[in-house]
């Protein structure tokens, strides 16, 4: 039932067989590696775009790029970071770790797994190729608001739509695979309430994907028909309503936010107990909080649209529902702190990233709570305050968590320890860069600078220069991460099977590096 690419191939040119091995692989570890490589490549591409527009924003006035190209850059930066960097990174980690953590031989549907990965490079090829088309790449922000994206969108918008369809198919198939794996392939004794939290959060995330991605596919399909088949779902002059787009988009968009956060929660919940040498505090409440956050995420989409003229009742409902999210999120943060409480902590790089994640994600959570207050949101909405908020949530929540996870499990994957000193340098420069970049954004936003503008009034000048320098620092830091990972893959101090002295879980019972085929006979979990 489970296919592997291990059958001896006929004699081929080594390059051909190398490529075929990776193209045809159905092994969860290899597919996980592919996902992570693609994700990091796209992370660097989208990061480079951020460098470009931050350079433009360093000083008032237009220096390097045109206003239109600026809009293209910020659109692609958002889309690629969300769909290309964060989501594939989490799917890659899921591929690597979920079968190992639940004691399964592989993913339940290996061929599907291969298919859902190999759709992605084509999707992003479509998206990036739009940069070279006449009229330029999509230039209406990653939120694709109609009618700017329909009636006024450049021709390349269609490539974006098809790209999103492909990404959606990939995500849905990947999520189905993960759910089926978790439901069917757990080792005997691995009950749901014994699963590691990373697996739990991914199970919930997968359900969010299943429910949210089709909605995105639906709404971009309506965009497509509006653009080419004369329908007028979002076209006011044809009797349509531009706000339907926003409602449907954010019905996808808010769960999407949690898709990008929940696996990060899971990662922190794996790392912190290991280095605190103490079991996770409140396992059950962590699980319930995850499910509660996921449930609430479907009823808060309106808080992205407070300025669109919603009726008072709707504004109140969305305000209350959004504020409510702070409760389960707070429970998680308190639990992490309680896990550390009276532990015996050491601070290796994964632990640093996990703590950095908790602290800065909490800051992002605070500004999220402030944004939920509808009257105040009228002042925050679409300013740099929102940009600061979302980056404080996503950069630590998704990127730091992923990097922490890579440091945590890299010895298990490669059999080599990473360079602890370089890892610490990477962490500290990333933390400093992140705060230099995003903290001043709070102030420019409060002072009144709208987001997504290519040029700004003079009072915002000093802080924007500050932000730009921080952004460049943060961007360059990530090249160090690439170096550390490559160095670890090529060699280094050998890792033990246990790797971390008090790490718990099935993944630490197998040798380092983990064998191609992890569990031939299901382990027994007590």
């Amino acid at each position: 039932m489970i296919a592997h690419a291990e059958t001896t191939p006929p004699a081929r040119h080594p390059l051909v067989s190398f490529i075929l091995r990776w193209v045809l692989t159905t092994n969860h570890k290899e597919i996980g590696t592919l996902y992570l490589c693609l994700s990091f490549t796209l992370f660097l591409i989208a990061g480079a775009m951020a460098m470009i527009f931050r350079a433009e924003l360093a000083q008032p006035g237009l220096q390097f790029i045109t206003a239109d190209f600026y809009n293209q850059m910020l659109t692609l930066h958002g889309l690629i970071m969300v769909f290309g960097a964060v989501m594939p990174a989490f799917v890659g980690l899921a591929n690597w770790m979920i079968p190992m953590m639940i004691g399964a031989p592989d993913m339940a549907l290996p061929r599907l797994n291969n298919f859902s990965f190999w759709i992605l490079p084509f999707a992003f090829f479509l998206l990036l190729s739009s940069l070279f088309m006449e009229g330029g790449a999509p230039n209406f922000g990653w939120t694709l608001y109609a009618p700017l994206s329909t009636t006024y969108g450049p021709p390349s918008t269609d490539f974006l739509i098809f790209g999103i369809h492909l990404m959606g198919i990939s995500s849905i198939l990947g999520a189905i695979n993960i759910i089926v794996t978790i439901f069917n392939l757990r080792a005997p004794g691995m009950t749901l309430m014994k699963m590691p939290l990373f697996v739990w959060t991914w199970l919930v995330t997968a359900f969010l994907l299943i429910m949210a991605m089709p909605v995105l596919a639906g709404v971009v399909t309506m965009m497509l028909t509006d653009r080419h088949f004369g329908t007028s779902f979002f076209e006011a002059s044809g009797g349509g309503d531009p706000l339907i787009f926003q409602h449907v988009f954010w019905f996808f968009g808010h769960p999407e936010v949690y898709i990008m956060i929940l696996p990060g929660f899971g990662i922190a919940s794996q790392i912190i107990p290991t280095f605190a040498r103490k079991p996770l505090f409140g396992y059950a409440s962590m699980v319930y909080a995850t499910v509660a956050i996921a449930g609430l995420s479907f009823v808060v989409w309106g808080h992205h649209m407070f300025a669109t003229g919603m009726p008072l009742a709707a504004e109140l409902f969305f305000m209350y529902a959004t504020m409510l999210i702070a409760v389960p999120t707070g429970v998680k943060v308190f639990n992490w702190v309680a896990t550390m409480w009276r532990g015996s902590m050491t601070f290796e790089t994964p632990m640093l990233f996990a703590i950095g994640f908790v602290v800065m994600f909490t800051i992002g959570g605070f500004s999220g709570l402030m944004l939920a207050i509808t009257p105040a949101d009228f002042q925050y909405h679409d300013t740099f305050f929102v940009v600061a908020h979302l980056h404080y949530v996503l950069y630590p929540g998704a990127i730091f968590a992923t990097m922490g996870a890579v440091y945590y499990w890299l010895p298990k994957w490669t059999g080599n320890m990473y360079d602890e000193r370089l890892g610490k340098i990477h962490f500290w420069s990333a933390v400093i860069g992140l705060n230099l970049t995003f903290f001043p954004m709070h102030f420019v936003g409060l002072a009144g600078m709208p987001r997504r503008i290519v040029d700004y009034a003079l009072p915002y000048a000093g802080l924007n220069l500050f932000t730009t320098l921080g952004a460049w620092m943060l961007g360059l830091t990530q090249l160090l991460f690439l170096y550390i990972v490559i160095k670890t893959i090529r060699g280094g101090e050998k890792a033990t099977d246990q790797v971390w002295e008090s790490a718990e879980g099935l993944e630490w019972t197998v040798p380092s590096p983990a064998p191609h085929h992890t569990f031939d006979t299901p382990p027994r979990v007590e």
């Binding site: 549907l109 849905i172 069917n184 009950t191 749901l192 909605v215 399909t221 779902f233 009797g239």
Partner: protein, 230 residues
């Protein structure tokens, strides 16, 4: 995997009340007595539900917010046989056919579990034929609307422009599902007939196909209610 299904099948019982529910969730991997093919189809259908829901709610939003009168479905979809137009007659027949096909599908699943190859395959072909008839009638309806009534995605002579937009979008999407279902049914029926599942004796694929087919029927009921009867 797959070896444990027979032994645990004997002890499997539907959960009763809260006690059994918690016992289920605290069990190990046999919690959900669902093979992965079926789990996958259920999850896929969940995601499909959301896409249809997104189209239907958008349609309802459009229909409620438009100021132009919506074309009267019972006139637009009427069909006359020589004399007076009978409202919704074609749709009624289509709905009847599709619901009947759900019945034949259920029978097919039943015979599948009894491992009666011939009957299973025959019933599945009948189901597929019903599906094909449905798609054919839908094509007829589209042609009538486009050619005779002049309905286009961007407008129509009777009223609100989005009537065409929503109609072609939703019924088109559903029609595509039915067409795919017909192909899917035929492929599985052929494999059943050829005896591909004899070796394992596992005719679950018939039930999985059935899940898809019942889902497509169910969606049609909603489209029927919201689009034609409203």
């Amino acid at each position: 995997m797959g070896s444990n299904s027979s032994e645990s099948g004997a002890t499997f019982a539907l959960p009763e009340g809260f006690q059994d529910f918690t016992r289920d969730w605290s069990a190990d991997k046999q919690t959900f007595q669902v093979p992965w093919g079926k789990a996958m189809m259920w999850i896929f259908l969940l995601s499909d539900t959301f896409i249809f829901a997104c189209f239907l709610t958008s349609y309802m939003n459009v229909r409620m917010s438009t100021r132009v009168p919506w074309p009267n479905p019972s006139e637009v979809f009427a069909l006359s046989f020589g004399g007076d137009p009978i409202p919704l007659i074609l749709i009624a027949i289509m709905t009847f056919i599709l619901i009947t096909s759900s019945g034949t599908m259920a029978l097919a699943v039943n015979y599948g579990y009894r491992q009666d190859r011939a009957k299973t395959a025959a019933l599945m072909f009948i189901t597929a034929a019903f599906g094909a008839t449905f798609v054919g009638m839908q094509a007829f309806e589209w042609v009538k609307l486009i050619v005779e009534e002049g309905v286009r995605p961007w407008g129509n002579p009777m009223g609100a422009a989005q009537f065409g937009s929503s109609f072609f979008m939703i019924t088109g999407f559903h029609g595509a599902h039915v067409s795919i279902g017909v192909i899917y049914l035929s492929v599985v029926a052929l494999k059943v007939l050829k005896g591909d599942y004899e070796a394992s004796g596992n005719y679950e694929i018939v039930e999985i196909t059935g899940l898809y087919w019942h889902f497509v029927d169910l969606v049609w009921v909603f489209i029927f209610a919201f689009f034609y009867l409203w």
